[in-house]
Structures are given as structure tokens and as C-alpha cells.
């Protein structure tokens, strides 16, 4: 009986810290943050002044990357060649990154 209790105690002592460590690691993963997070408000891009947008600007490229699917589904009014250029710009930016989540 005493041996059994000792065994249970040893298992608890080894598994609880392991569980706590794994939970704390998981809490910092981007996927965990994604639960309940807001989706990009791509509709707001329609109201932005396209004349002031620079497709070489990393911020602009990031926004296009975020809203790529949305704009395709909306049948964006810009000519397809223009969209192609922007997508190409995003690919280049992604390639240049050392780390992408």
C-alpha cells in the first residue's frame, strides 16, 4: 500500500511539472493567440486612398497579403495584371524574411 502511494506520488510529481511546462509553452504559440482573434477588416481597404498607396511599401504589401483572399473573392476592380504585380511583391517580401509564422 505504502509502495503504491509512493509510486502515485512520484508519477504526480513528474507529470504535473511536465504538464505545467507544456501548457506555458503552448500559451505563447501564435496559434493559441489566433483563437478568438479578430479577422482583418479588408472591407476598409476599399475606402483607402489608392493614390497615396505605394505597392513597394512593406505596410502596403503586408495589407495586400492579409487581404489577398478577400480581394480575389470580391473581384477587385483593379486590372488583374496589377494584382499580379502586387502578389509578386508580397512573394518577394516573404522570401526576404528570415522567419515567417
Amino acid at each position: 500500500m505504502q509502495i503504491r502511494l509512493r509510486k502515485t506520488g512520484a508519477i504526480a510529481l513528474s507529470t504535473i511539472p511536465a504538464l505545467l511546462v507544456s501548457l506555458s509553452v503552448a500559451a505563447h504559440e501564435p496559434e493559441k493567440h489566433a483563437e478568438g482573434a479578430q479577422a482583418p477588416d479588408c472591407a476598409a481597404m476599399k475606402d483607402m486612398d489608392s493614390a497615396t498607396m505605394d505597392k513597394d511599401d512593406p505596410v502596403m504589401q503586408a495589407m495586400m497579403e492579409q487581404c489577398k483572399g478577400h480581394m480575389e473573392s470580391m473581384g477587385h476592380s483593379k486590372p488583374s495584371a496589377d494584382s499580379g504585380q502586387r502578389d509578386h511583391g508580397n512573394e518577394k517580401a516573404s522570401e526576404g524574411s528570415a522567419h515567417d509564422h
Partner: protein
């Protein structure tokens, strides 16, 4: 004669030093220093703590190698989402002027959505931000993110901070949203 005078002077200084130490110890142990976050430090304490912080960060951050691709859009996206989740509550976002944390923390966290960082050249600023995000600042409310986040992830946040003051609220929302979120 001069030696007697010198000894008397040394004795005086030793007594004065001892009195100061005892007075300081009494001040600490009697709990006379107002430690509440809603009471600002006096000028001397503020100067001392700020000088210690700035000199320490400058020394520790000086040798850090800054990646050459901090302007990549992929870094903006990764760093922006993390900033929104982990930093915006204290360091704010475009269009937001205060939060419970900015009102209640002391020292008040800097508003990183406004262009105000005057710490040296761009490389020094990047090194400083990386070091502070990774290691935190003692007794300031700024945690060390290093234990749970690798260097690349921290550099992504530094990359985002470089562009944060340029963003409108709409741009901020789009860039910081997690594309894979369930609400999409």
C-alpha cells in the same frame, strides 16, 4: 598637529557616514517611502532609476547584431499580431490615447504608436528595443518576453515597432489581425 587635524576630520566623516547610513536604514525599515504607483518618485529617485535604466540598457544592447531585413512585410505581419496580443494594452495603438494600464502603471508605459523615440540612431533604437523586449525592465511592469519567445519572433516585433507610428487605425487593424483566426 596637521595629522591630529586630519584624524579628527576622518573621525567626523566616519560619524557623519554612519549617521547617514542609520538614517537611511530607519527610513527604509519604518516604511516611510511612498511605494504606491499613484505617488510619483521624488526628483532624486526618478533621476537615479532612470539613469540606471538607460545606462544599463545602452551598455547591454550595444553589441547586438540587427538583422538586415527588418523592413520585410512578413516580419510586419508576424510582429504586428504579437504586438496586438501582448503589447497594445500598455503601449497603445493608433487612435487610442490611454488605457487602464497607461493610467495606472508607474512609470507610465511609453505610447509606441506615436513617433517619439529619440534614443540615438536607428540601429541603436533597434538594439535597444530588442533588448528591452527580450529582457524586460525590473519593477516597471515590462516583462521579459525572451523566456517564451525566440529571437526571430522578438525581431519581428522590433520590425513592427519601426512602422507602428506611421499606421492609421484601419491599417493597424488589418496588419495586426491574425489571418488564421476563427472569425475570418
Amino acid at each position: 598637529m596637521p595629522i591630529r587635524k586630519l584624524l579628527a576630520c576622518v573621525r567626523c566623516l566616519a560619524v557623519a557616514g554612519l549617521v547617514l547610513i542609520l538614517a537611511g536604514a530607519a527610513y527604509v525599515y519604518l516604511g516611510l517611502y511612498p511605494i504606491g504607483a499613484d505617488t510619483p518618485h521624488n526628483a532624486a529617485t526618478y533621476w537615479l532609476l532612470e539613469s540606471v535604466r538607460e545606462r544599463s540598457v545602452a551598455r547591454a544592447a550595444s553589441g547586438i547584431a540587427v538583422p538586415g531585413d527588418l523592413d520585410a512585410s512578413a516580419r510586419l505581419l508576424a510582429g504586428g499580431a504579437d504586438y496586438n496580443d501582448m503589447c497594445a494594452g500598455c503601449h497603445l495603438e493608433p487612435g487610442v490615447k490611454e488605457s487602464d494600464f497607461t493610467l495606472g502603471l508607474y512609470p507610465a508605459p511609453p505610447n509606441l504608436a506615436e513617433a517619439h523615440d529619440v534614443h540615438g540612431d536607428p540601429e541603436t533604437r533597434d538594439q535597444r528595443r530588442f533588448w528591452i523586449i527580450k529582457h524586460g525592465i525590473k519593477a516597471s511592469g515590462m516583462p521579459a518576453w525572451g523566456p517564451g519567445h525566440d529571437d526571430e519572433r522578438i525581431w519581428n516585433m522590433v520590425a513592427f515597432l519601426k512602422r507602428l507610428p506611421d499606421l492609421t487605425p484601419q491599417q493597424y487593424q488589418i496588419v495586426t489581425a491574425r489571418k488564421d483566426s476563427a472569425a475570418h
